[in-house]
Amino acid sequence: MRSKECVAMLLAGGKGNRLGALTSKLAKPAVYFGGKYRLIDFTLSNCTNSGIDTVGVLTQYHPLALNSYIGVGKPWDLEREEGGVTILPPYIKQDGGDWYKGTADSIYQNIDFIEQYDPKYVLVISGDHIYKMNYELMLNAHIQKNAEATVAAISVGWKDASRFGIIDTNDENKMISFFEKPKNPRSNLASMGIYIFNWGILKKLLISDAKDQRSSHDFGKDIIPKMLENGNDLYAYSFEGYWRDVGTVESLWETHMDLLKKNSAFDLNERGWKVYSRNLNQPSQYISSKAIVRNSLVNEGCTVFGEVENSVLSYGVHIEEGSNVKDSVIMPNVKIGKNVKINRAIIGEGTIIHDHNVVGNLEDITLIGHREIVT
């Protein structure tokens, strides 16, 4: 086995409780996004586009769809003879089994996996963020600063700052303090949950953290604060592009609406930065002579007889005559009957909405789960 400079560990085990019905039997990174993708596509494509070819994916919550989806990583060009994608579920050892107790614990339990590649650096990323980031540039900054850990950070609005891990740095981007969800944030520089560690140091920390009964075994809550305490050299890496954590129904909807904005900050058609996903065999979309489709993203396999405005349609969506879909996100294989009105809603995979229904209102985002039938 050739050694790898940097191995990525992708955290994909989260339950995603705040996505409600969308994640009742589905891992959050497998949630559909943007008419064609699943959330994890963005992070995996970042790896590919950054030249990172060894990715461990840590799963434990309802992983069936996610595991089948990822396979050996072919769609993301991550099917490699050495390295590539490896799914890492919790497992039983000689002395019994443990579920992953936290983000840090999941890496701790897979030290053997990482050691196979004898890497200098480990990149820790999450499978539920929407962004395009060249991790190679971050790694270069990490190396140049001679850092022991580097945390990617983005400026957020001051009013939102207390929802994030907030980083305070000196002029050279060196971290002075880090507070998880502070009531009175000292800065508006938020951690994006993307870390590069020197593997030698991280390994030691993980082993000692695993023994620490009081630890919650979390990178943000435990590992980073311990490193600051120990006087390790931590740096922030400022990121200035589009980045969203789609952890709630509202943010999932808003991020979709961002895609539809004129001159959207997030371009799915960017040449040189493809977002890869598993392709399905669906025919071209059929837009009938009575349909109106405006300011929308529509995937293959859709048949549209009604009106679609400012919305995103995943594959296999069927919309009959007289219906109107506005400001909404429609997931795969949803069937919408005649004279249905849908407004500001997210409709889960395979749901059927019969004729004359009205879904959604102007106040909130309405969520209908997977495989429901609205009669």
Binding site: N279, S296, N299
Partner: protein, 369 residues
């Protein structure tokens, strides 16, 4: 269907597709928004449970090879069975004049190594989504030596077909040469089911007689000696071997019911996939009665047209009755009617091209207008 193998014969396919096949064979001609013609027969075979397919190629097959790759998209990338391409074994181009029989004959070793009992012989220019299982059933029930698929169609086809006569007991009494179809006579779909043994036998004895073509010679000249039955197919069928038939059959797909017959059956048509974003309809877009594929960015007006993947339609542009192949660009205020643009064509701003509705304007690959 484990004991049936598919043979796709691309040798001497009747080809009047003109500009569309200057640099490719019929089998790799783009069709229906995201497919190539080969996808239809290949998917039909796979969906029917056929696990082994061989393909006889003749010329201009480079883009076909690119398209097929390892056969993975059709689930034919296998260690056991799967897709095998059998190119001409001879170097002398004169030998190719000997016809498809000679191609089969040169590769008879390949067939000896196959364990399948039956073969389905077909060409690539039939657009359809067929389940072959009932045809094998029919073949066995009739105790036929050869079963030929045929179709009756009242409409004008604009394509070249082979007329066929089928008796009341479904026996084939005659088959003709290729002609432009005018009447509502039944015609052959050029798909034949028979035992592999009979196939090899016919190849060998026909070669010995100096014959060239499997259907024209080995089948038709032996029609009296063989029990050849006709199986009437009633699903969607497009026959593509002239520019006019290409255009008509493409436009037919804009009829939702024909479109559904071909694509929204229980079995999908497989093709090579590309990483393209969902089609983006901008606020100035107006799209009516059209097929649109991923990677398109539409700002103009599109009517009765088929857009393959990655097409840009600029603001103020108008497309009507057009077929636009992958990665072409239609700039602002272009007006295009009754046209077929091959891949990577660029139509510069403000251009206007109106083709004849019967004989559309065709732009070759990579042309700049």
């Amino acid at each position: 269907m484990k004991n049936v193998m598919g043979i796709i014969n691309l040798v001497n396919e009747t080809d009047q597709l003109e500009e569309l096949t200057y640099n490719r064979c019929i089998a790799s001609t783009p069709f229906g928004g995201r497919y190539r013609l080969i996808d239809f027969i290949l998917s039909s075979l796979v969906n029917s449970g056929v696990q082994k397919v061989c393909m006889f190629t003749q010329e201009k097959y480079r883009s076909l090879m690119d398209h097929l790759g390892s056969g993975r998209e059709w689930d034919l990338d296998r260690k056991q069975n799967g897709l095998t391409v059998l190119p001409p074994l001879f170097d002398d181009p004169d030998e190719s004049k000997k016809g498809d029989l000679y191609y089969f004959y040169c590769h008879r070793d390949y067939f000896f190594r196959c364990n399948e009992e039956y073969v389905i012989l077909s060409k690539s220019h039939m657009v359809c989504n067929i389940d072959f299982k009932p045809i094998l059933q029919f073949h066995k029930e009739k105790e036929a030596q050869i079963t030929v698929l045929y179709k009756e169609d009242k409409e004008e086809l604009y394509s070249l077909t082979r007329q066929i006569k089928v008796n009341a007991d479904q026996k084939v009494s005659s088959m003709q040469g290729y002609h432009t179809k005018q009447q509502s006579d039944p015609f052959s779909m050029e798909m034949l089911l028979m035992r592999k043994e009979l196939f090899l036998d016919l190849v060998e004895t026909s070669i010995a007689k100096g014959w060239k073509d499997f259907i024209t010679d080995a089948v038709i000249k032996n029609l009296d000696l063989l029990s050849v039955y006709g199986y009437k197919y009633s699903g969607y069928l497009g026959i593509i071997n002239t520019v006019q038939s290409y255009y008509k059959n493409s436009m037919d797909l804009l009829n939702a019911s024909l479109f559904n017959q071909l694509f929204h059956q229980s079995h999908s048509i497989y093709t090579k996939t590309k990483d393209e974003a969902p089609a983006a309809y901008k606020s100035s877009a107006s799209v009516l009665n059209s097929l649109v594929t991923n990677g398109c960015i539409i700002k103009g007006t599109v009517e009765n047209s088929i857009l393959f993947r990655g097409i840009e339609v600029g603001e103020g542009a108008r497309l009507k009755n057009c077929i636009i192949m992958p990665n072409s660009v239609i700039q602002q205020n272009v007006n295009l009617e009754n046209a077929i643009l091959d891949k990577h064509v660029i139509v510069n701003m403000d251009q206007e091209i109106i083709g004849d509705p019967k004989m559309p304007f065709v732009a070759e690959k990579q042309k700049v207008i």
